[in-house]
């Protein structure tokens, strides 16, 4: 029995070390992101929907200003501006502006908060909304986010963010109804 126990405890130590190294990498990524106060990227977003034969594509510019302002300006096919500032989200589309509270709309929250908290390097805020799973290294990392709130999970089941250092590369959101959106980000020239 003793060798087995020893082997088991070794395994546990190894697992703890692995976890420790992972969380070390995660912290390092978060520190890098937190140091990045302002960013501006081009995005291309593809919506894959079961009812549609081919995805709907849109593109535009996304800007971030620490700590909590995120602006997504879609240029094509329908101009639209989304500004998340604190708890307030304003949506301007077809000449009309709607202002809503993020906290009152759990269905929109994952799309905004996953991105914004990651850009802020605010792991605490991220973990408030999602169960966070980190993999990879600082040079090339992946965050897998699973919503904690059941109301949120009814809309979006999974968010995956891929990045390199303090750059975000791809954001993929799986919706509960089987549709999927994939956003590819590229530094604005």
């Amino acid at each position: 029995m003793k060798p087995l126990l020893a082997a088991l405890s070794l395994l546990l130590v190894a697992a703890a070390a692995a976890a420790g190294s992972d969380s070390g990498e995660l912290d390092a990524v978060m520190r890098l992101l937190a140091a990045h106060r302002h960013g501006r990227v081009d995005f291309v977003e593809q919506h894959f929907m079961p009812v549609l034969r081919h995805p709907v594509e849109s593109y535009g510019v996304m800007t971030y200003q620490a700590p909590d302002r995120l602006e997504k300006r879609t240029v094509e096919p329908v101009p639209e501006t989304l500004v998340a500032d604190g708890n307030v989200l304003s949506i301007e589309r077809k000449g009309r502006t709607r202002v809503i509270e993020l906290s009152a709309h759990p269905s929109i929250l994952p799309f905004i908060e996953s991105l914004r908290a990651t850009l802020a390097g605010d792991l605490g805020a991220l973990e408030q909304v999602f169960k966070v799973d980190f993999s990879g290294t600082v040079a090339r990392w992946t965050l897998d986010l699973a919503p904690r709130d059941a109301r949120v999970a009814r809309i979006a089941t999974h968010v995956r963010i891929e990045g390199a250092g303090d750059d975000l590369l791809r954001v993929e959101i799986l919706a509960a109804d089987g549709s999927r959106s994939l956003t590819t980000l590229r530094k604005s020239p």
Binding site: H47, M49, R53, H54, I91, R93, R98, E101, S103, A175
Partner: protein, 799 residues
């Protein structure tokens, strides 16, 4: 007529009047100051104030503590109040009706969407609409629509929701409505009962207070104890005004009775005299109520409040009678005076008649409250004078005696004499200077002298009006008061009219003449429009063909749109929506808020929103409406209500001038001399000018009630002036004493009104109380001393 018969007839009449008064219907709502015979536009205004949908809204605000705690209380209150059948609906911003609304809108989207036309379902129309929908799907707003896309590929749902949410909604915080500065959490409760049903409104207010208290108790959070509840709305005003008027009437009656009793006891020093002295007053009060009840069908509570003032004047009569008839007591003497009814009664009668002239001008007033005051006072004064003249002498015991006031009067006379010694020239010059000074003050203040707003007549205190305006603004009510009104005999007719008016208004939004508008047809289209939409839905085979052509090359495959085909087919055979179908949805509340129905007449209201900060160009709105068939009219509520007020003010001025002329004519006839009448009137006019100038100096905006008060100064003051004018040698001391006591009673009774807490009563009180006092002083100083007795106590001693 024998003495016994007179007393019996009087007692019989009093009993009859008392019976009428006991069985009279008493009104304590606000209608005393709503016009009785409005024009059609004014009728709409009044209906809206009284029974309109707006009158059923109670505005609830929570202040204090933090927003999250307030949101919890708001939710708990709304939950409890929604259970209560006294409320038609309770809104606090929570997305509760949203589910039912969405279901209703979705089920009836082809009847509700204005895009539904035959062209919309052609191949080209379908292709354009579907392309639009696909691009919408990528937006966060489209997200919620995705599950519906196979049912609604043309996006009717989003179109309907868009249009309905175009009207302004309050800001939301923590999921519930808040003011834009976040300091107040807001709720709106719509009562089932009309706003004019004051009892039901009182219940509803109590239910809200209980719900608040229960929510705070249940929260168990010390933070929530800091939350304060604020209430507003027509129902609240009605309940409060009723309480205030009832309270004021009771308090004023008790207080003025007490004061008059104390004064009379002090003067007469006899309980018997007190009882006898109060008889004319009591008779007058009962007669007044009976006359109003018989003449108007119902008595406004506020009339009783005004009626207190009657005590002041009616008490005068018995004072004159007792104090001056006292001089008949000496059984024998060299100077045997004339019996009092020959000597004093004519003066008293003339004074009574001038008062009646003053009050009679109120009878044709557009306000039931003022007309009733007129009727009450005229019948009350006539009854009191008649009792003094005919009944009191019969009841006077042989050994009747009251305290001799002549010495006190003589002291006052000597004081007046001291001043008068300055000579008429000096006094009249001083009066002229005073008059010119007052006129100058009035001229300088003339811009803001008259209150121009109808609300100044309202018995609602300005602070409550301010709170109401703030809450309405917080709730996103239209910022301007302009609205288009369509009237008709049925709901369908006014909905069609509203749709036709909307066609005229639509282009004005693009031209930025108006910012937007709301319409009951947004919530319930007319049956004609719904029918046309239903008729434009194609049959299944045709729709399938167009759809296949339309989706060629699009991301959405026609094969997946089976649900769309079956929904359209179902809609082609579905019944049209009637107002009853809207029950329980927010569409129902929207429709009710914008329609009025009274006795077989319907009005549809289309409030206009201003474009930007500048007010709408109403001339262009009017022109656009005129170009469209139908009889849509533009109602500028503010202008209309101010015009209403202006008309009242002109009316009141005309009536006051008529009253003044009547008094002048009466005096000239009675005194048989224009110069003498002028001398009697001059001190009274001076008193009016001084009071008006003093009010202007105190920054008081004068209202109709102030004007009425000024008329009353002349009417009441003429009693004093006449007595000074008629004064003859032997009775100057007692004349002065009786005038002083009468004046004290009048000033006290009107002075009490100043503390009533009811603005209209206060206006009357602050005008008449000082005015009556000044009228006495000016009369005593300015009336020419014919017998030169004042100031010579030696002659007084002869009596």
């Amino acid at each position: 007529m024998s003495r016994r018969w007179i007393v019996a007839a009087w007692a019989g009449l009093v009993v009859c009047a008392a019976l009428v008064a006991v069985h009279a219907r008493y009104l304590t709502d606000l209608s005393a100051f709503l016009p009785a015979h409005p024009t059609p536009m004014q009728r709409l205004l009044v209906d809206q104030l009284r029974t309109g949908p707006g009158s059923r809204l109670l505005l609830i605000a929570l202040e204090g503590a933090d927003p999250a705690a307030r949101a919890r209380i708001s939710a708990a209150m709304a939950r409890r109040l929604r259970e209560d059948r006294e409320f038609e609906s309770v809104g606090n911003g929570e997305q509760l009706t949203a589910e039912r609304d969405r279901e209703f809108l979705f089920d009836h989207r082809y009847l509700l969407s204005e895009a539904v036309t035959p062209e919309h379902f052609s191949t080209a129309g379908l292709a354009a609409a579907i392309k639009d929908t696909i691009s919408d799907l990528a937006s966060p707003e489209g997200l919620a629509l995705e599950p519906l896309v196979t049912h609604d590929p043309t996006g009717e749902m989003l179109r309907i929701v868009d249009r309905l949410s175009a009207t302004r909604a309050p800001a939301t915080r923590d999921g519930v409505w808040t003011s834009s500065d976040g300091a107040r959490t807001l709720l709106v409760a719509e009562t089932s009962a009309a706003g004019s049903d004051t009892d039901a409104q009182q219940h509803a207010l109590e239910a809200i207070r209980e719900a608040f208290a229960a929510a705070v108790r249940a929260a168990k959070d010390p933070e929530t104890r800091a939350i304060r509840l604020l209430l507003s709305g027509p129902g609240k005003f009605a309940v409060e005004s009723r309480a205030r008027i009832e309270h004021a009437v009771v308090r004023l009656s008790i207080a003025s009775s007490a004061i008059v009793v104390v004064i009379l006891l002090a003067v007469y020093r006899s309980f018997r005299a007190l009882i006898l002295g109060l008889l004319p007053v009591a008779t007058g009060a009962v007669a007044g109520i009976a006359a109003v009840a018989l003449g108007f069908g119902a008595v406004h509570g506020i009339t009783l409040g005004f009626g207190i003032t009657l005590i002041g004047e009616a008490v005068d009569y018995s004072i004159y009678f007792f104090i001056q008839s006292r001089h008949e007591a000496p059984p024998s003497g060299a100077l045997d005076p004339l019996p009092w009814e020959r000597r004093l009664w004519p003066t008293l009668r003339l004074g009574m008649l001038t008062s009646v002239c003053g009050f009679a001008t109120l009878l044709p007033s557009g306000f039931p409250g003022l007309a009733q005051l007129g009727a009450y006072s005229i019948s009350g004064l006539a009854a009191a004078a008649a009792v003094t003249r005919f009944v009191l002498p019969q009841l006077l015991p042989g050994n009747f005696a009251i305290h001799d006031l002549a010495p006190a009067g003589a002291r006052a006379a000597s004081l007046i004499g001291t001043v008068r010694r300055a000579g008429p020239a000096v006094l009249w010059t001083a009066a002229l200077v005073l008059a010119c000074g007052s006129l100058l003050v009035l001229a300088l203040a003339r811009a803001g002298l008259w209150s121009r707003e109808l609300s100044s007549l309202s018995p609602i205190p300005p602070s409550a009006q301010r709170l109401d305006a703030e809450l309405r603004k917080d709730l996103g009510a239209p910022d301007s008061l302009d609205m288009v009104v369509v009237s008709g005999s049925t709901l369908e007719a006014v909905l069609r009219g509203a749709e036709s008016a909307a066609r005229a208004l639509e282009p004005l939004i693009g031209e930025k003449v108006i910012g937007g508008f709301d319409s009951p047809a947004n919530y319930l289209p007319s049956l004609a429009v719904q029918g046309a939409r239903r008729a434009s839905l194609p049959d299944p085979a045709a729709l399938r063909r167009s759809l296949e052509d339309a989706t060629r090359g699009l991301a959405l495959d026609a094969d997946r749109l089976g649900p769309f085909l079956s929904d359209v087919e179902a809609a082609r055979h579905a019944p049209l929506i009637t107002e009853h179908d809207l029950a329980g949805t927010s569409l129902g509340s929207g429709l009710r808020a914008l329609t009025l129905s009274t006795s077989g007449r319907w009005d549809a209201l289309l409030p206009l929103y201003a474009a930007g900060k500048s007010p709408s160009d109403l001339a262009r709105v009017r022109a656009a409406l005129a170009a469209q068939p139908g009889d849509a009219r533009l109602l500028d509520l503010k202008q209309e209500s101010d015009a209403l007020y202006g008309a009242y003010l002109r009316d009141a001025m005309r009536l006051s001038l008529a009253g003044l002329s009547a008094i002048v004519v009466l005096l000239v006839l009675a005194l048989r001399s224009a110069g003498r009448a002028l001398r009697v009137l001059a001190p009274l006019v001076l008193a009016v000018l001084v009071v008006a100038a003093a009010l202007a100096l105190c920054q008081v905006h004068l209202t109709i009630l102030h004007l009425v008060g000024m008329l009353l100064i002349v009417a009441i003051g003429s009693n004093y002036a006449l007595f000074f004018d008629r004064r003859s040698g032997g009775e100057s001391g007692s004349t002065l004493a009786s005038l002083g006591v009468a004046n004290l009673c009048t000033a006290m009774a009107f002075g009490l009104l100043s503390f009533s807490g009811v603005p209209v009563l206060e206006a009357l009180g602050t005008t008449v109380a000082p005015g009556a006092l000044l009228a006495l002083i000016f009369s005593s100083l300015l009336t020419p001393a014919q017998a030169r007795t004042i100031g010579s106590p030696a002659m007084d001693a002869h009596a």
